[in-house]
């Protein structure tokens, strides 16, 4: 009887803990900040396509639609609106519509609707360029777009919020269970990304030897700031390489311990900030930092962002 009762208690406790973890309503500040930043990145990423739209997305660009479909295995579930439209004017219409959607998502206008449209459009672009021109930025963009659909991403730091204030709403943005669920999904998705990124690096001889950082900074095509002075600092190269791989492998544990979380967050800023500064991957580096912000408590976000957001809101509402 004792064992059965203990097991029953364990299951009940685990179910309660699971419920609290996923469904406790939370202040949507962190979620809203991620909408603002990820929406900005989605807008910028797609704005840049405008500079060579037909070459990358047109039916007869660098890689034809037929070729891409063939590379993707002709699967029905790999879909893109750009597989079905051929006329340049139609591609431009979709593109301009997408830019409007991503801009609205960034500023938080009709947030719930633009989040859904943003996801569909982000996947459409990404599938058209995979393989070919895709990289980690597109994976992160689509991940954000997916989870932004799930909660009230425009509850704070948005034109939707300012509109509600202008309409006379005085209540604070309510705590939201779906915002918590979306943030949890971003957090766990990020843990899976880092785990497999670390496991893949374990197979690399240069990661094992502690020299991989050198081969990253010695890559001329990636280089945006010269870091070849590291040639004189083999211990620093080794240390940074080993820290990177251990941090990625143990990211999940480091992030869920409140004492190691700030350290882990700072490592994320240094690693991804380094990629942005020295390897020219500013967009990818920033996007990974944005994803790490999902671990920042809403109260901290409000302490950082509310003063600025309040000033912007005052300007837009005429001080009301």
């Amino acid at each position: 009887m004792g064992m059965i009762k203990d097991t029953r208690d364990y299951v009940a406790d685990a179910w309660q803990a699971w419920n609290r973890f996923w469904f406790t309503p939370t202040d949507p500040a962190t979620f809203s900040l991620i909408r603002l930043l990820a929406g900005g990145m989605l807008f910028y990423t797609h704005l840049v396509w405008s500079l060579d739209l037909q070459a990358f997305l047109g039916p007869n660009g660098w890689l034809s639609v037929d070729f891409i479909r063939q590379m993707q295995g002709e699967q029905w579930s790999v879909w893109s609106v750009f597989f079905w439209i051929e006329q340049p004017w139609a591609i431009w219409c979709v593109h301009i519509f997408a830019l409007v959607v991503f801009f609205c998502l960034m500023v938080g206008l009709f947030s719930r609707s633009t989040a859904v449209l943003g996801f569909l459009l982000a996947v459409s672009y990404a599938q058209r360029i995979s393989p070919g021109a895709f990289f980690g930025l597109d994976k992160l963009n689509c991940m954000f777009a997916l989870y932004l659909m799930l909660g009230p991403c425009g509850a704070r730091y948005s034109l939707d919020r300012i509109w509600r204030l202008r309409q006379g709403e005085t209540n604070d943005a309510p705590a939201s269970a779906s915002a918590n669920m979306a943030i949890r999904l971003i957090q766990l998705h990020l843990c899976i990304i880092y785990l497999f990124s670390g496991l893949a690096k374990l197979l690399g001889e240069n990661w094992q030897a502690g020299t991989a950082l050198w081969w990253a900074v010695a890559n001329f095509e990636y280089q945006s700031l010269d870091a070849t002075w590291l040639a004189d600092w083999p211990m620093l190269i080794g240390l940074a390489t080993h820290v990177t791989i251990f941090w990625e492998l143990f990211y999940v544990g480091l992030m869920w311990n409140r004492f190691t979380r700030p350290i882990s967050l700072w490592i994320a800023v240094i690693v991804h900030g380094g990629i942005a500064l020295f390897m020219g991957m500013i967009t990818f580096g920033l996007t990974m930092i944005f994803a790490n912000l999902s671990f920042v408590a809403p109260s901290t976000v409000r302490r950082w962002v509310d003063p600025l957001a309040g000033r912007v809101a005052s300007m837009l509402t005429g001080g009301k």
């Binding site: 203990d6 208690d9 179910w15 309660q16 699971w18 419920n19 609290r20 996923w22 469904f23 990423t45 840049v48 500079l51 060579d52 070459a55 990358f56 007869n60 660098w62 890689l63 034809s64 029905w76 579930s77 790999v78 879909w79 982000a122 996947v123 990404a126 599938q127 393989p131 070919g132 021109a133 930025l137 994976k139 689509c142 997916l146 669920m181 999904l185 766990l188 899976i192 990304i193 497999f196 990124s197 893949a200 690096k201 690399g204 001889e205 240069n206 990661w207 991989a212 050198w214 990253a216 010695a218 890559n219 001329f220 095509e221 990636y222 280089q223 070849t228 040639a231 991957m281 967009t283």
Partner: protein, 248 residues
């Protein structure tokens, strides 16, 4: 859990009570304080678990490789040199669990663009690929270019997209090079000749010895491709060769 089990023991059920050591039980937060009814939360929990399993299965499936059994005797050529086995060799053992999960979630992962391996700079950082092209128009004028090229492709993200075009040629095979050549021939109207080059990297010792990262000897042409606008029978040039590893 063991601590909680002691705390929750009913009074007078075996062990003598020690009131001075018993701490008040940690109050449980009632699940009823949560939004939505239990059935909806249960349904959402199922969806969350399936979604996370799918997100986990994608890189697991993509990053695992089949393995040969221990002690497998590799086939050898006439000179006794071991030969690689083909991907469909019957002795290869497939990682059945990630493969099964990958198949099960395949369409869901595709629909949401989640079918990725997340192998950033793995297994090892490698040299980048560059494509140089030259299009000769019917009037004899020549258009030359390269991608990626910082001078031509701006901002950095557009440069990076062009870098990926050159880089993923290796992933897509020689037909992709033909696609690029055809595109350039159509765009500029003429005959396109394209070179696919790998830019090898230098060791710390070579850099300390004064060799520049873009020293001409660090570039090695791997393949050439040609295309003529309006020619339906464009054929690939030399077939790409394996990319040499390590530094030179």
């Amino acid at each position: 859990m063991s601590k909680k089990r002691h705390e929750n023991q009913p009074p007078g059920s075996g062990e003598p009570s020690k009131p001075d050591k018993i701490r008040p039980a940690k109050p449980k937060r009632p699940a009823s304080g949560l939004p939505w009814n239990p059935a909806l939360r249960g349904f959402l929990s199922l969806l969350i678990a399936l979604h996370l399993l799918a997100v986990f299965a994608a890189p697991w499936n993509l990053s695992t490789n089949p393995a040969l059994p221990p002690g497998f005797m590799m086939p050898v050529d006439a000179n006794g040199r071991p030969q690689p086995v083909s991907r469909d060799h019957p002795a290869l053992q497939q990682p059945v669990v990630p493969r099964a999960l990958g198949r099960f979630f395949n369409h869901y992962l595709n629909l949401a663009y989640l079918n990725h391996g997340y192998q950033f700079f793995a297994p090892d950082p490698a040299g980048t690929h560059i494509i140089d092209f030259q299009v000769t128009k019917p009037d004899g004028t020549v258009v030359k270019g390269r991608f990626p090229d910082l001078k031509e492709q701006w901002p950095r993200l557009l440069y990076h997209r062009h870098m990926m075009l050159a880089e993923q040629t290796e992933l897509m095979g020689s037909d992709s090079g033909q696609q690029y050549a055809d595109h350039l021939a159509r765009l500029h109207g003429g005959h396109c000749r394209m070179e696919w080059t790998v830019h090898l990297m230098l060791s710390p010792e070579e850099v300390k010895a004064g060799t520049a990262l873009d020293d001409p000897k660090t570039y090695r042409v791997l393949a050439t491709v040609e295309s003529q606008v309006g020619n339906p029978n464009n054929a690939a040039g030399e077939m790409p060769i394996a990319i040499p590893g390590g530094t030179q």
